[in-house]
Structures are given as C-alpha cells and as structure tokens.
Amino acid sequence: MTNVKIASLDDGGNFRSQSIDQQSIPLLEQQALQAQSANIQGISGASYTSAGFAQSLQAALSHLGL
C-alpha cells in the first residue's frame, strides 16, 4: 500500500499543493528524519496557524512524502 495523495486547505478555503519556505527545509529534513526513524504516518499536536504549519512536523512529513 502506498500513500498516493496529499492535499491541503489554506485559510482562504483554496486547495493548493504544499509549499514550504526554502529556509525551513534543513530543519524540516532533520525533523522528518526523526519522524522516519519513529516510522510514523502523522503528527498530533497543538493547533498551528497557516504560518505555523510550515514549521511543523506534519509539514516535514508531508513535504518528504513519508
């Protein structure tokens, strides 16, 4: 079985593909490695805002398609 689709809803109600600041990618990769080593498919945590999502572990997972 394979994860085939990731969609997202921004606060304007419009769907868009994931877009993540280039600057946050090294941090995300580091976080995603931890997520990968834990073999997880999702993250639960305190609600993030649209801006906070880019820095979140869930974004790291989604970005790398883990």
């Binding site: 079985m1 994860n3 997880i40 999702g42 993250i43 639960s44 305190a46 993030y48 805002t49 572990l57």
Partner: protein, 244 residues
C-alpha cells in the same frame, strides 16, 4: 479556520481512479462548507453574524444548531470544562468544529478503493484503516517542551486530538473564570469521534487532572496529559506504542 488541513489516503496498489478523485473532492467540499459557515475569522460567516446578534439560530444553516447541540453534549460530559457559551465575544463552537469538520471530510473518503485515510486538521486527526492491512496508523505526539520533537508514538484507531498553548500562546479559556488558563502543557484525547475528542482535549488542557478522571471513566476515550514540568499522566487504555 486560519489553518491547514492535510488529507492522506492509502489505496491497494498506490494508484487511484475517478472514484477516489471524486471522494477527495467531496471531502474538500465538506471542509470548505464548514469553513464558510463556522469561521470566526470571516466577518460575514453565519457564525460570526450569530455572535454579533445579527441573525438568530433559526436563520443560520441547520448544521450550526446541530453542532451547538453536540457542543452542549460535550460540555455535559466534560463537567462544564468545555463551554463554547463562556467564550469572550459570544458563543464560539470553534473548539468542536475543527474536529467535527475533519470527521465529516473523513466520512466522504469511506469508499471501497480507499483502505486507509487520515484527515489532519492542524494536529487533530480523524482516520480509518491504516497504512498496511491490520496495522493502525502510527502517530507521533509533539513534545510540548521541544515542539520539533516527539513525546511519544501512539497506535491510532479512529481519532486523536491534542490541545496546548505552545503553538499559539495562551488561547484556551477557562469557562469558570473567563480567563486564559492551561493546567497541562499538552492534552491528547483518542476515541471514535474527532469532534468530541477535540472538545475533550480542550477541556483537559484547561482543567488538567479532573477531566483526565472523567475521560478515564468513558468506555471509548483515552487521554494523556503532559505537565509543564514534563510529568505525564494517562488513562489505563491510552494506546502508547513507544516510549511510554
């Protein structure tokens, strides 16, 4: 609702056809509808207008009354620690709606071609199935003291909601005092329905131990709190995979 929803679906061979595309479109439409009706960030949404007294409940779309009924039920279960009617600026069902909307979007994904699905609304997840047959999704709970890292991993059956002040600052209101309060750094609730789990996680973050005991007495729901000192308490059946 000022945040991001991610949808992950798993299919038999990693491919998908028009049925799956249609189900995803329905899931998105449910989220967009919920956002249009319930957003308190949009000045012209029915709930914003209801809060300002410009319309009555009878004038609002019927799902507003449905959600407020569900909020009242959640409030009763929580012993009054979840109370949308005690929020500043008028009734605010936001603490229930995000989970309710994600659960509704998940329902649209329940078709034969999809063997597992997760709708993750800003850290609150509704799911069915898993990434492999017979294996639940593995979900990391964010460490409230180090939000780039995980506190633990759980095996997810159904829904999980987590509340805490570490992403957006003090925004959780104690319904008894009307003031921002948290008695746990992080509060997670697992159970069949994400709307109720979301409400109970909010109540748990505000109240701490009294609501942990309440959730422990419910058949289908389990909870974990992480204190500001890092100390953890959980209900007997909390689905830890590692480490606990």
């Amino acid at each position: 609702m000022g945040t991001v929803v991610t949808i992950d679906i798993y299919t038999e061979n990693g491919r998908y056809g028009s049925e799956v595309t249609l189900a995803l479109a329905r899931a998105r439409a449910r989220l967009q509808r919920a956002d249009a009706v319930f957003s308190t960030w949009k000045a012209d949404s029915p709930v914003s207008r209801l809060r300002r007294g410009e319309i009555t409940l009878a004038d609002a779309p019927p799902e507003v009354a449905d959600v407020l009924d569900l909020c009242a039920f959640a409030g009763e279960i929580s012993g009054g620690w979840f109370d949308p009617w005690a929020m500043p600026g008028g009734v605010d069902p936001t603490g229930y709606v995000k989970g309710w909307a994600a659960q509704g979007a998940l329902a649209a994904l329940a078709i034969d071609e999809i063997s597992g699905a997760m709708v993750n609304a800003a850290g609150d997840i509704a799911s069915f199935g898993g990434s492999e047959p017979g294996a639940p999704f593995r979900i990391g709970i964010v460490d409230p003291r180090l939000p780039g890292q995980l506190a633990c991993v759980v095996g997810l059956t159904g829904a999980i909601a987590t509340s805490g002040g570490y992403e957006r600052g003090a925004h959780l209101i104690d319904p008894h005092s009307g003031r921002p309060t948290t008695r746990a750094a992080s509060a997670s609730v697992c159970g069949p329905d994400l709307g109720l789990a979301d409400a109970l996680a909010t109540a748990l973050a505000v109240a701490g131990h009294p609501v942990l005991d309440v959730i422990g007495s419910l058949d289908d729901y389990e909870a974990l709190i992480i204190g500001v000192d890092g100390r953890r308490r959980w209900t007997d059946g909390f689905p830890f995979l590692s480490p606990d």
